[in-house]
């Protein structure tokens, strides 16, 4: 029997583990930044629902909060908000 070295089986083949920022801090991609006006916001959470980046979370008070580390500024949230509570502001 040949001597047995410890083999890390998972390193033999490309196995990836779940991680935020798989493309880095994609917030840097932005040209326009969405800003939520909490006074107008009705907490319907459609922006949370429609965000393709999962970059909107919901705080303890139920308001949507944008994660600017990753938000790419696509503008879907602002476009879909039924009460126009989100403005796209040039950065």
């Amino acid at each position: 029997m040949t001597s047995r070295r410890k083999i890390e089986h998972e390193l033999l083949t490309p196995i990836s583990r779940p991680n935020e920022g798989s493309a880095g801090l994609t917030g840097f991609w932005r040209v326009f930044k969405p800003i939520i006006d909490k006074n107008r916001c009705k907490k319907c959470l459609l922006c949370w629902l429609y965000c393709p980046e999962a970059a909107i979370t919901v705080d303890e008070k139920g308001y949507p909060t944008i994660n600017y580390d990753y938000c790419k500024g696509c503008g879907i949230c602002a476009n879909e908000c039924p009460v126009k509570a989100i403005r796209m502001v040039e950065e």
Partner: protein, 402 residues
């Protein structure tokens, strides 16, 4: 238990004994009996397994990959065009380090259509990371498939294995075969371990995503590394099989009357049987000749072959294949090992053209003449219809100059 079985049926019995859990296969002559027999076993309840009747060979290997990633022991079989059609997925299986075992019935490629044996199909895939066995007869097919799982699933290997045998000469020729049962081999071949990974929901992972150049090369190195370790594992698996069941094949290659041989004939597959008979007749004529039957094509037993062949006066390789534009595959690979030994590479038997012991004797005597003349070509063709060639292109060379 002794049964009279064709090579194909022997393969099916071996997969059964190995407790294969998922079979995913597409029919192609001359493999069909393998999958037919397996369907029978499964539907009769003799095998606790699933049979996926896929719609193509490409899907056969894809389904094997999926099933293996989900932790199952899988088996499939194919030949020629089926093998080449699935070749994209064969690369995937090797890169994903899955211990899949596949039976390959070697058959000539079209056009024109041929169902008879040559080794070009299987050999054309020797670069991709599959371990490749080549069997001489039905008994070896049975034994090698079981050994293949043992080798593939060893943590030092974790690579897929092709077990090949010749179309019709082995696949459809019936011989007495010692068949072992699941119980007999259970200790030799325990259940598959969940390595290198198995789909699980507690610690999810992604497999096979995009990989930049700074990280890719290591995966290829690791396959190559495991290939080199596989040589030991193959030898061990064969030795232990011999101890437990009374049959072994010399590990990477089989030697017949080589110990005092000045000349060695190198063959693969079914013609090795005829070659052994030819060796006996040549010995009677006074030649000190032996036969080396190459059993494992990948990992190529470079150092072992170099050691066995370096002291000979002549090596005659019979290649039942042609790497078009370069020569016989084994001739090229063996010549690369031997600096001072004259190697005569003879290409014969393409498209199933018969090679009998008479031909082998003729080839050997021709090789002797060539070596005597001092002018050894890169390779030469044997048994070609010279008239047809002359009609087609106006001339015929036994050895095309390259």
């Amino acid at each position: 238990m002794k049964m009279v079985l064709t090579g194909n049926y022997a393969a099916a019995y071996a997969a059964k004994a190995a407790r294969v859990e998922v079979v995913s296969a597409y029919p192609i002559t001359p493999q069909t009996q393998v999958v037919e027999k397996l369907s029978e076993f499964i539907e009769k309840g003799e095998m606790k397994a699933k049979f996926i009747r896929v719609e193509s060979e490409h899907s056969a290997m894809a389904a094997c990959i999926g099933a293996a990633m989900a932790g199952a022991r899988v088996f499939t079989a194919t030949s020629a065009h089926g093998l080449i059609y699935m070749s994209e997925m064969l690369w995937w299986a090797a890169g994903a380090r899955l211990p899949i075992v596949m039976g390959v019935v070697t058959r000539a490629m079209a056009p024109p259509w041929s169902i008879w044996s040559d080794h070009c199909d299987m050999l054309s895939l020797r670069d991709i990371g599959w371990i490749i066995f080549f069997c001489e007869n039905a008994q070896e097919v049975f034994d090698s498939i079981i050994q293949a799982y043992r080798v593939a699933e060893d943590e030092r290997v974790l690579l897929p294995v092709m077990v090949s045998w010749d179309a019709f000469q082995t696949s459809h020729t019936a011989e007495p075969v010692n068949v072992l049962t699941e119980k007999d081999i259970a200790e030799y071949l325990p259940d598959r371990r969940p390595i290198p990974y198995v789909i699980n929901f507690d610690k999810p992972f992604t497999h096979g995503s995009l990989c930049y150049p700074d990280k890719y090369m290591e995966f290829r190195y690791l396959i190559d590394y495991s290939m080199s370790k596989a040589k030991e594992v193959i030898k061990e698996a064969d030795e232990e099989y011999g101890k437990l069941f009374g049959r072994k094949y010399g590990g990477l290659f089989e030697e017949y009357r080589c110990s005092d041989a000045e000349a060695v004939i190198v063959t693969m597959g079914a013609i090795s049987g005829d070659a052994k008979y030819a060796v006996d007749l040549l010995r009677e004529k006074g030649y000190r000749v032996g036969l080396l039957r190459l059993r494992v094509i990948r990992p190529f037993p470079a150092s072992e072959l170099k050691e066995k062949l370096s002291s000979r006066k002549i090596v005659c390789v019979i290649d039942r294949n042609i790497s078009l534009g370069r020569g016989g595959v084994m001739g090229v690979e063996i010549k690369a090992l031997l600096r001072d030994v004259p190697v005569v590479d003879i290409v014969a038997g393409i498209g199933g053209r018969d090679i009998s012991y008479v031909d082998i004797i003729k080839m050997f005597e021709k090789a002797l003449k060539i070596v005597e003349s001092g002018e050894i070509p890169e390779y030469l063709w044997y048994g070609v219809n010279v008239e047809y060639i002359k009609k087609a292109v106006g001339e015929y060379y036994e050895s095309p100059s390259i």
